[in-house]
Symmetry: none
Subunit: 500 residues, 2 copies
């Protein structure tokens, strides 16, 4: 924050910091709502959130920002200044293109949509959700029109979550990915299935929580800069530069979901906590895209957290926590159990081989919905047909099919593809890390992931939004995103596990 006291750049940075603080306030309200808010507070909390979001929008579209952006262009001296102005302008232009009435209608419809979805899923009745889903699609289409598009209205929606990405390039990448995944899934299906019965038993929740905390801290999560709490659905949220919290949920009979979700969320949190000091507290202080964010969570969860070297260190510790449940289980059995592959109906429970196919299905369907090529009433059938094509199984009900995810009910279209992009980025990034660090595997086997974290901080975390996802991957690996690395990682790992 240097420059003359009257400088436009400095004023803009001050306003930007206030915008950052305000957005974090909303995050605190949401975190509290998910973790411990009393039941009867829900109505007023919705009002508080809507008021805060209105205030934030009001401030982020303040015409002073437009004027300051113009004036500050000539003041930019460093790359950092230029990166700041680029992202601030991007944010401002997006915000000012959307009419306040549309933003408010989308927020209100999403709130109603979420309720309708909860009811519809409970009753396994898509018809209860269909009308409001139709309205949410229509409003998203209006958002796309206001933001502007050339090739497809899906482009500006995708860009909200994966900045600077285009539908065309994601489609091309996903086509290669799908063509590689389908034969692998088939080969595994034909092989001898692994036994994962070791993952079911009695695993007291308090011990699960202690073990989760032990792992988090060992991975580099600083409890002075965050917390681990419980919520109905695990999430990570940034409440401040030094306050990134994660949540999980426990099942006494099955320790794996809590364990891997904690590692996953720790991956997200380490990214946010690793933002460079020079860009903290402003528009650049955020993961650059949800795809890169997901690359961090999935690298820790899957590439590291479901690897044999990782459990060579941690399995004896896990066994010590649960001596009865894991009596007689060995490392190899455990390793194979946590990597069991099986086509299944629910995305969030899917293994790392089939997972991306769930995402590609949603990516295709939401484009068709937004482009008007698929009618809402035809969606359940289209979903089920595609599940059969991609994974060879047909949902017996809409609750286990088209109604399973929360995203559309909250008005989020263009979000899903970032999950699979994360898988692809993670493999491509980790491959470079291993090449540059021949000791990588030995270090992880010794329980030492500090060198990996330091490397990720240097190459990814500290940059925040200064580099786009495509710049990051080019700078790290010397080439654009290439799905072949993820496929290669999967083929190598599962060839061994399933003796393909």
């Amino acid at each position: 924050m240097s420059g003359p006291a009257s400088g436009a750049l400095e004023k803009l940075q001050a306003l930007d910091h206030e915008a950052y603080l305000l957005e974090r306030v909303s995050a605190i309200l949401s975190w509290d709502q998910e973790t411990g808010m009393p039941d009867r507070a829900v109505g007023e909390r919705a009002e508080q959130l809507s008021l805060m979001q209105g205030l934030t929008h009001e401030r982020s579209t303040d015409p002073r920002i437009g004027e300051l952006l113009e004036a500050a262009e000539t003041e930019a001296r460093t790359d950092l200044d230029r990166d700041f102005l680029r992202e601030k302008r991007r944010r401002y232009e997006k915000a000012t293109r959307l009419p306040t009435a549309l933003v408010r209608e989308l927020a209100e419809t999403a709130s109603l949509g979420h309720n309708a979805w909860v009811e519809a899923r409970k009753a396994d009745d898509f018809g209860r959700f269909a009308p409001i889903l139709g309205k949410l699609i229509d409003l998203n289409r209006q958002v796309a029109d206001h933001l502007g598009w050339e090739v497809t209205p899906y482009d500006p929606l995708l860009d909200q979550y994966e900045p600077y990405a285009t539908t065309a390039e994601v489609r091309e990448t996903f086509t290669k990915l799908r063509d590689g995944l389908v034969p692998l899934v088939q080969a595994i299906a034909a092989a001898q299935q692994v036994d994962d019965s070791a993952l079911v038993g009695v695993f007291p929740v308090a011990a699960q929580e202690e073990f989760s905390r032990e792992v988090m801290v060992a991975l580099g999560y600083d409890l002075d800069r965050g917390r681990l709490d419980r919520s109905a659905h695990p999430f990570t949220t940034t409440l401040g530069s030094h306050d990134v919290r994660i949540t999980t949920r426990y099942d006494e009979a099955r320790p794996a979901p809590a364990l891997f979700s904690t590692i996953h969320e720790t991956g997200h949190a380490l990214y946010e906590l690793g933002i460079g000091e020079e860009i903290r507290g402003g528009v650049l202080a955020e993961g650059t895209s949800l795809g890169i964010h997901e690359s961090q969570s999935r690298m820790w969860e899957n590439i590291v957290g479901r690897s044999r070297p990782f459990w060579a260190h941690w399995f004896p510790r896990l066994q010590a926590r649960f001596p009865e449940a894991l009596d007689g289980v060995n490392l190899d059995t455990f390793y194979r159990a946590i990597n069991r592959v099986e086509p299944s109906l629910i995305r969030v429970d899917a293994d790392e081989v089939t997972y991306s196919l769930h995402v590609i299905l949603r990516f295709e369907l939401e484009q068709e919905l937004i482009e008007g090529r698929l009618a809402v009433e035809d969606l359940p059938a289209a979903w089920n047909d595609r599940m059969e094509r991609f994974l060879g199984i047909r949902p017996p009900s809409d609750a286990l099919g088209v109604l399973q995810d929360v995203h559309w009910s909250m008005g989020a279209f263009g979000y899903f593809p970032t999950y699979a992009l994360g898988n692809l980025y993670s493999a491509q990034i980790y491959r470079v890390y291993k090449r540059e660090n021949p000791q990588a595997t030995a270090q992880i086997e010794a329980g030492d992931t500090a060198p990996l974290l330091a490397w990720l901080r240097d190459r990814i975390h500290r940059w925040g939004r200064r580099k786009s996802a495509s710049e990051l991957i080019e700078d790290i690996s010397g080439e654009p995103l290439n799905p072949e690395y993820f496929l290669e990682y999967l083929r190598e790992k599962y060839r061994e596990i399933y003796t393909l």
Copy 2:
């Protein structure tokens, strides 16, 4: 919220509701800071609070409010409308007198001051706190000057916490109170001391927490509208009309502090939760003064919670929770132990006889600080001298003396007297309750406090700020606040316990 759509009154009510929501957002940030925020988030949280308070101040001084207040005068039809306009005008006039920059500076300094105080107390080093305390005094003096005063700058500060009260009348009341307390303390000191060794032992914290929850709920606290958490210093805070949370702290060796602080905070919470439906969510939806607030907490904690009838019901239940620690202790021994009187160093641990003397000491010192008659560097000595004069004991350290309370570190001057006013109000109010409800004692003995809560809701809680403290006490008892009732209550109770 009735009236024509274009009515000024209705517009004012809508703005007032937004102000209410915004203030609650700040309360959420503060609650989180005290209960579980990661340590390193403290700096940015101070900025967030300062920003929110600035925003709230900006909105509460919007000139539209002034115009609407004028226009709405002719629209007021009911007493409720007139009460709303009176309090809204009072709030608006106070707010417009304070410059936004001062409000923000005070908030930010208070947040940092709190931290400095924590460090200073830990290190028993007043010098670490002195500079920021000096700044907080100076800022408070500026606040007083902006709010306006005639007799003493302490008047407008006191009025922030005890609306419509004056320093002169509180001083007069406190003089009578002190003149009555000192001989009582002396008489007790000369009597045979009661044995409170039953209150020390091993009382597992989890069981203490469960018992606290059981008592809270029995007193009428609804866990769907609140929570019980832990914090360094117990408090109650209103996060919404249906979200009033309390905190406490536990000591495994001594169950009494957590128990009575929970009952105390429950008293505060029941007041806030009892606000009438017709005034929720706006300027009237708050305890009318901290003195009346404290009358509720102290009535439940002391008059009810340290009474023999109360423990006739609860002692067997407490004994069942802690069978070993309370083995062989009987009701009478327990009752006398929880009412042991002894001059002590720490206000929050003081018994109900000596407590008010701690408050009067602070009331005097903070007037001198604000009026510039006492320098910050002379404060520790002044504190210690006065402790010796009032209670006959001298703190061996500042941590056990001038550094013990959080209030000044948060910039609150004029707050302390409300604690002793609470004692006085509680006795005067409860005396009327007993007269009107001859079954009062029998009901409490049977564990039934619902009639008391219903009576308090009717006479006090539901009114919120519609009646001032002096109107309430006049309406309830037919006379102004009179310290004689509290003295009478103490004399009668302790005559029996200490056989005076």
